[in-house]
Amino acid sequence: MTDLLSTPEPAAGLAPASGARQVWRRLRARKSALAAAAVLGLLVLLALAAPLLAALEGQDPNTYHDALVDSARGGVPLGDFGGISAEHWLGVEPGTGRDMFVRLLYGARVSLLVALGATVVQVLIGLAVGLGAALGNRFADSALTHLTDVMVSMPLLVFAIAMVAVVPADFPRPLLLVFAIGLLAWGSTARLVRGQTLSLKKLDYVSAARLTGGSSWRVARRELLPGLAAPVITYAAILVPSNIVIESTMSFLGVGVKPPTPSWGQMLSTANTWFRADPAYVLLPASMLFVTTLAFTVLADGVRVALDPREASRLRVGRGGRESRKSRPGGTA
C-alpha cells in the first residue's frame, strides 16, 4: 500500500462536491469566463426587461416619429449620431424614426432566442445523428454519414427560403427561424460528434460501462456525453453568432422575422446602405452582435476548461508522467 500513502492528499480541505458544483467552482476561478457570463447575463436581462426599459425611456419599438427624420434626404435622422437625444437614448431609425434603444432591446429578444434555440436544435440533432452513426452498425453509420453529407451540401438559404414559404404564415416566425436554421444546419455538429465519439468509444472506460449491463443509451449518456460536452460546447459557441448571422442573412433575403418585429439581424440587413449617411445605424446592431460573439467564445472556453476535472491540476500532472503516456491507443504494433 505504499503507493497509496505516497500520493499527496490533494485538496484535503475541500468538501466532496457534486459534479455540477465542482464545475461551477472551477468556472468561478476563471475571471474572463465570469466576465463573459456577466455580459451574457446582462444581455439576457436587458432583453427580458425590454418592456420595462422601454417604459423607462418612454418609447415603444413601433411608433413612428416622422418629425425626427429628414424626409427630403432619404429619411436620415435629424441630429448627431443617429439623432441621440434625451427622449431617444440611442437615436432613431432612419426612414421611420422608430426608437433605436428599444428596438435593440426587443431585437435582442428575437436574436438571442433564434440563435440559442437554433443552436440547441442543431446540437440535439447533431448529437443524435453523430452518436447514432458512431455507435450504430455499419449500415446505420453509412446511412447517417451520408445524410450528414446531404445536409452539409444543401444550400442553407435556399432551403430556408423554401421552408419559410411552405409553412403557414401564422406560425410564430422566430420559432420557425429556430427550426429552419436548426433543422437544416446541423451537419457539421453531427460530424464533430461522430468523430469525437469514435475516439471516445475506443477508451476502456466505455467498455467497462458496457459491462455494467446498462442499456446503450445509459452508456452513451453517462460515459460519452460528458466527454463530448467540451468539444460540443466550444463548437456551439461559434454556432451562436453564426446563427445570428444566418438570421440576418435571412432577413436580408426577406425571410427573416416579420415586421414590425425588430431583430439584430433585421436591423443589420437594412443597415448596410447607411454606412456613410448614418453610421450609428450600422454600428449599434453590429457591436451588439460582436459583444455577444465575444462573450460566448470566452464563456465557452471557460466552461470547456471547467468541465474537465483534470484541468484544475494540470500543472501538477505535468508532462510525461509514466502512466499518462500509456493512454494513447497503441498504433499498429
Partner: protein, 555 residues
C-alpha cells in the same frame, strides 16, 4: 569512479519543485551524486520517487516549464542550470542524449525515422550535408541492429515493431556520439524478450563507445545486469547509493529490500492456500445444460476465432482457441504483443463478438447474443483493464464509476450503493472517503485498484484481468497482484489473468495458457509449465525474464 579525472556528471544538492494549485510539490529534494566517465548508474525507485525528474534535470528539460530548480548540475563540464539557451541546446543530444520510454509516441509519427535521426545530427553538426546526415542515420540504425538499415530508414515509426522503435530511439541518441546516455525506462513498454535484447544492446554500446549511462527504471531486475552502481530514490531523496552488487546482496534500507522483493520471480511457487469452498453454480441459467453445473465449468470457449477487417486485408487475431474456465480457478494467459491475448480476453466477456467458434457461459452459448440479450449476463462477467488512465472516466468521480454497475442493476437504494462502494474501496485497499475524488488524483496503482473495485461491484463469477499490472512499477505490480490473489481466494471468483510477463502470472495462476500468433501453443498446470516448459516459445519467454541472480553471477 576513477580518481584524478573530473566526473562526467556531477549533481549537487539538486531540488526540483513544481508549484501547483495546492502548493509546491518537491519532486526532487537535495539529491547529489556523481558519475565517472564511462560509468553506468541505475536510478531506481517507484513512481513518484522523483527519478525521472532528476534525469530530466541533467538535460535542463525543466527550463521554462514553471518548475523551480536549485542546486547544481554539471554534465561534461557544462553547468546545465546556468547554461545559456544555445549552450543548452548544444548539450542536449550533443553531449548528453536521452532515450525515452514509449518509443511510439516519442517519435514523430509523420516523418521517416532516418530523417528524424538526420535532423538531430544536423542540429549538432551544422556543417554536415543532408546526405552526410542521412548516411549517419543509416549508420547508427545499423549499429543498433536494424536489419537493412538503409531501406528501413525511410519507414515511419508505425511501420516498426516496438523493439525496433526503441532501437531507433537509441540510434537517435547515438547519432552525435554523446558522452552520456540517459535512458528513462527504456524497456518498460516492451515484451520481455525484446527487453532483454535492448538491455544487451545498451551494454554492448557502453563497452564499445565508452559512453556514460544513466538508466532510470522501477525494476531492479532491469538495472541489475546493466549498470555498475545503483541509486535508490524515494520521495525525491536518495536513500541508498552503492555498487550494484552491494545493493542487491546487502540492501541497507527496508525500502530497497521491498523493491527487491517486488521483482517478480519465476522460482516462487504459488502458495497453496486452503481455498474457501467454491460457490456452487446453482440457479443455472435458463436453457443451460444440466451437466455443466455439475462439472463446475463456468465458461467454455471452443474454437473461438476473431477476424478483423474484410477481404484481403483481413487479420485473424485469435484463431481456434479452446479454453475452459472452472468456477473459482485462475488461468494465466501469457503471450507477447500481437499474440491475440487481449482479443481473447475481450471475447470472453463479450466486449467483442467472436467471428467463429462457440462461447458457452454456464452451458448457454453467448457467443452470438445481441447487446440487449447480453445484459442479463453482463454483471457476472467483468474485466479489469490494462490502461489505468483510459479505463476510468476522467469526468466522473471514482465512487460513481464503481457504483455504476450497481445503479445499472437498480436493485439497491442510493444509501446502500454508497455504503457498498465504500466497502469495496476499503476492500481494494483505498480510503473509503475517496468516493468523491476524480481519477486524475490517483496514482496508477490506485486507479487499478479502483478498476478492480468496479469489477467486483456486481459480484461477478468471472473477472478477466487484461494485463492489469503491465503499466505499473514493480512494487505496485506486486501489490496489485497480491490483491487479486486475495480477492480470488476470499470471494472464490474465477480469474483469467492476461500478461506478457511470465513471472507476474506465476504468483496467481492455477493453470497457464501460452499464446502466440492467435493460437494457444502450450497449456498446462502452472507449476509444471514453469518448471518443464514444453514448447520452445515458452522456453524463450522464460529465459528472457531478467533475474537478479544473473546479475550477481555476471558481476
Amino acid at each position: 569512479m576513477t580518481a584524478g579525472t573530473e566526473p562526467l556528471v556531477s549533481v549537487t544538492d539538486l531540488s526540483v519543485a513544481f508549484p501547483t494549485g495546492d502548493g509546491v510539490v518537491r519532486a526532487v529534494d537535495g539529491l547529489s551524486f556523481t558519475l565517472a566517465r564511462g560509468g553506468a548508474l541505475g536510478i531506481v525507485g517507484e513512481s513518484g520517487s522523483g527519478k525521472s525528474t532528476a534525469a530530466y534535470a541533467l538535460l535542463g528539460l525543466h527550463r521554462d516549464t514553471g518548475a523551480e530548480v536549485s542546486g547544481s548540475v554539471t554534465v561534461a563540464g557544462h553547468d546545465v542550470l546556468a547554461a545559456g539557451d544555445a549552450e543548452l541546446r548544444a548539450l542536449r543530444g550533443g553531449v548528453a542524449a536521452m532515450v525515452f520510454q514509449d518509443p511510439l509516441s516519442s517519435l514523430d509519427p509523420y516523418q521517416a525515422i532516418g530523417d528524424q535521426i538526420a535532423e538531430v545530427y544536423r542540429t549538432h553538426r551544422k556543417d554536415a550535408s543532408r546526405r552526410a546526415a542521412r548516411e549517419r542515420a543509416t549508420e547508427v540504425l545499423d549499429r543498433v541492429g536494424i536489419p537493412d538499415a538503409a531501406r528501413r530508414a525511410r519507414s515511419r515509426p508505425h511501420e516498426f515493431s516496438g523493439g525496433m522503435r526503441q532501437r531507433a530511439l537509441i540510434a537517435m541518441a547515438l547519432a552525435c556520439e554523446p558522452r552520456l546516455l540517459v535512458a528513462d525506462e527504456p524497456t518498460t513498454a516492451l515484451d520481455v524478450t525484446v527487453q532483454a535484447q535492448i538491455l544487451d544492446l545498451l551494454r554492448d554500446l557502453r563497452e564499445e563507445t565508452g559512453t556514460g549511462l544513466i538508466l532510470v527504471t522501477h525494476d531492479l531486475g532491469v538495472a541489475a545486469g546493466t549498470v555498475d552502481e545503483l541509486l535508490v530514490m524515494k520521495d525525491g531523496r536518495a536513500v541508498e547509493h552503492a555498487p550494484v552488487r552491494t545493493v542487491l546482496d546487502t540492501p541497507r534500507e527496508t525500502y530497497t529490500r521491498d523493491l527487491l522483493a517486488a521483482v517478480p520471480r519465476l522460482n516462487v511457487r504459488r502458495k497453496v492456500v486452503a481455498k474457501r469452498p467454491v460457490p456452487s453454480v446453482e440457479g443455472a441459467v435458463e436453457g443451460s445444460a444440466e451437466g455443466a453445473a455439475d462439472t463446475g465449468v463456468l465458461l467454455e470457449a471452443e474454437g473461438l476465432t476473431r477476424t478483423f477487417g474484410r477481404g484481403r486485408k483481413a487479420v485473424t487475431a485469435v484463431e481456434e482457441v479452446s479454453l475452459t474456465v472452472r468456477a473459482g480457478e485462475t488461468i494465466g494467459v501469457v503471450g507477447e504483443s500481437g499474440s491475440g491475448k487481449t482479443t481473447l480476453g475481450r471475447m470472453l466477456v463479450r466486449l467483442l463478438e467472436p467471428t467463429g467458434g462457440a462461447l458457452r457461459y454456464r452451458g448457454r452459448d453467448i457467443g452470438g447474443l445481441k447487446e440487449r440479450e447480453l445484459r442479463a449476463f453482463r454483471s457476472e462477467l467483468q474485466m479489469v483493464f490494462q490502461d489505468p488512465v483510459s479505463s476510468l472516466n476522467p469526468r466522473r468521480s471514482v465512487g460513481e464509476s464503481i457504483a455504476d454497475p450497481l445503479r445499472a442493476a437498480g436493485r439497491l437504494g442510493d444509501a446502500e450503493i454508497v455504503a457498498r462502494v465504500r466497502e469495496l474501496l476499503e476492500r481494494v485497499g483505498l480510503d473509503p472517503g475517496a468516493y468523491h475524488r476524480y481519477p486524475h488524483e490517483f496514482s496508477g496503482g490506485q486507479r487499478q485498484r479502483v478498476g478492480i473495485a468496479r469489477a467486483l461491484a456486481p459480484e461477478p463469477r468471472l473477472i478477466v484481468c487484461d494485463e492489469p499490472v503491465s503499466a505499473l512499477d514493480v512494487t505496485t505490480q506486486a501489490q496489485v497482484v497480491r490483491l487479486l490473489g486475495e480477492i480470488q481466494r476470499d470471494l472464490g471468483v474465477a480469474l483469467v489473468f492476461i500478461a506478457h510477463d511470465l513471472a507476474v502470472v506465476r504468483q496467481v495462476s492455477d493453470r497457464l495458457v501460452v499464446m502466440k500468433g492467435g493460437r494457444i501453443v502450450e497449456e498446462g498446470a502452472a507449476d509444471t509449465l514453469y518448471e518443464r516448459p514444453g514448447h520452445p516459445y515458452t522456453q524463450g519467454l522464460l529465459a528472457a525474464v531478467p533475474r537478479l541472480e544473473k546479475a550477481e553471477a555476471a558481476a
